[in-house]
Amino acid sequence: MTAPHGRPRPDGLPRPSDGLTGTSHDPDARGYFGSMGGRWLPEALVAALDEIADAYDKARFDPEFLTELDRLAETYAGRPSPLSEAARLTEHVGGARILLKREDLNHTGSHKINNVLGQALLTRKMGKRRVIAETGAGQHGVATATAAALLGLDCTIYMGSVDTRRQALNVARMKLLGATVVAVDSGSATLKDAINEAFRDWVTNVASTSYIFGTAAGPHPFPMIVRDLQRIIGLEARQQVLELTGRLPDAVVACVGGGSNAIGTFHAFLDDPGVRLVGAEAGGDGMETGRHASTISGGSVGVLHGARSYLLQDDEGQITESHSISAGLDYPGVGPEHSHLAEIGRAEYVSVTDAEAMDAFALLTRTEGIIPAIESAHAVAAAVKAAAEIGPAGIVLINISGRGDKDMETAMEWFGLDRPDGVSAAATATK
């Protein structure tokens, strides 16, 4: 695959620009994927969304923009990310051959940089000098602050005050990068409230400010733009799996909060009917407790943060609080394209509890020497189940969306790593 604007990569792998130019499964003109998506937000923001949509329509076929995106992705963010054979994990599970797409190795430690570089370049193209973003785990906030430093943009990040505490390291990184970090105390003081506050900033400062949305959710055109910028994950992985194994995987597994890494991974496989697409949602304390963030598995359709999609709500449409050990998945909404894929049965969404995710966190660490983000550990847990079901003849691809450095404090607490016997708690997870 080669983009028309650049020379092919020597290794023949796709480039990020291929995710923008190779349009497929686009929403309709009003931003709907089937019955999901659209624009459910104040009129005051419609002009700004139209401006972004127009800028994006031009940029996605503008050779100069695409070349710059590819250049930054390769020389700055470190693309392409490798595909790792998880031999010891495979042996441990005793099922399908497990392969890992290594988005954790990107600059800033997750897939978020893929999206942010594109949207920051788009901001510059629109002539705006200030960017805002929401963040849960802090990965998107760090990525946005990084791109803002790189391109010389003013940057403000909104983060729930619960999350600023559990992700203190990422708060420090954002500040060091020059961003203003605003801790949001309203509501549940997590990601949903950070998004509310970012919308409030945007509606006030829309003339000077671009909102770099972090996930493939929100009002049209965000779900499409973020997806296209993340499509490189699946485009690369599909080719890498083919080259390594000579065939397509039986299942592709990714974690789903808002769903950007998952949609970016799934997309290249949508037209491969033999490939199961599995989204791992955060199950918190368990679906039966009601304390979870499994929006598709345990929610219903409504409108939140600009889109018609599945969400967690009570019988009167009040948004209910989500619960997850993972700040990045602790969100009561989900991107509309995932809701659509669930509705048409193309992708399946499963719920992974905190305990299952932390077991998988330790398991991947002990078998492969890869400490994943707790978000990504949800995907590992779901993939281990899928691999056991599929059996030794099969192949399972997991997107490791981020690395776990930011989660050390949570891990210390969970496994009691600061206690003399703490290490054994982690070790039992691999038994």
């Binding site: 005051a44 009167e316 209910t320």
Partner: protein, 278 residues
């Protein structure tokens, strides 16, 4: 509850015929139902009527009010924490209309979807409500809502903003009934020292698009500000200033006092400007 005619768009048409006849703007007061508690909110709304509000905007409290500043956010959270349900909101509308007042509901849209749009429109009309202001519903998504409100005979009231281009003002005004809500400034609810300079310009653009009355909200707290807006708009909407008083020590009496001041304000405006711009 007493017998009362169901609310309808014509209640709003009649109101603006009266205020235009009197050469003044209407005064609209907002409060979330259930704040500070359910009986308290009903008492405060009666105080607004007693003080001189022509129309009450009954807020349906929502968990994620993205267009509201801190004062109204906090009031909605408290109303929800006190267990306010949609049935309570409808009963609060009924308490306003039973007292001889006019009422519309202001609501984010997800609760309406959950309740059922047709059912919501019907039940609101039965409670005597005349219309629904929907700050996060744009006309592009609203066809089913236009059908539901038309069926129930109540007014769908949409917002326009300083950022709205002329074609969207025309589109939005064309779908609105009763009045058009002009958000005077880019931003969230909350009182401001000065009314944004973008307000007269926005109202003037609305006048080019529609004969509907144009109501201006976001930021008003003083009689002078009310008089200034009444100089070019058909209605002045006051929210945060009432909400702040409703939860304070003065309670309903303080709210009635502010309403009386603002009612004087909307009657003391220099309307000559409007004649030329209308």
């Amino acid at each position: 509850m007493s017998e009362r005619a169901p609310g309808s768009t014509s209640v709003l048409d009649d109101l603006f015929a009266v205020t235009r006849g009197e050469g003044r703007a209407a005064l609209v007061g907002y409060l979330p139902a259930g704040y500070p508690d359910i009986p308290g909110s009903q008492a405060v709304m009666r105080a607004m009527l007693d003080g001189g509000c022509d129309l009450i905007e009954v807020g349906l409290p929502f968990s994620d009010p993205v267009l509201d500043g801190q004062v109204i956010q906090a009031a909605q959270q408290r109303a929800l924490a006190a267990g306010t349900r949609i049935a309570d909101v409808l009963r609060t509308v009924e308490s306003v209309t039973s007292a001889g007042g006019r009422a519309v509901v202001m609501t984010y849209f997800n609760p309406v979807l959950a309740y059922g749009p047709e059912r919501f429109a019907r039940d609101l009309a039965a409670a005597g409500g005349s219309g629904v202001i929907t700050p996060d519903l744009i006309v592009d998504e609203a066809q089913f809502w236009l059908d539901a409100t038309e069926g129930a005979g109540i007014a769908p009231i949409f917002l326009v903003a300083p950022s709205s281009p002329m074609d969207r003002i025309v589109l939005t005004a064309g779908a609105s009934r009763g009045f058009l809500y002009a958000a005077s400034t880019m931003g969230v609810t909350g009182t401001r020292d000065q009314v944004a300079s973008s307000a007269p310009e926005l109202v003037s653009r609305c006048r080019q698009a529609t004969d509907l009355p144009v109501a201006v909200g976001l930021g008003v707290r003083t009689a002078d500000q009310a008089a200034e807006i009444a100089g070019y708009a058909d209605a002045v909407i006051v929210g945060s200033a009432f909400v702040a008083l409703a939860g304070g020590p003065g309670g309903a009496a303080a709210v009635a006092g502010l309403a009386a001041e603002l009612a004087t304000g909307v009657r003391s405006a220099d309307r000559t400007h409007q004649e030329t711009s209308a």
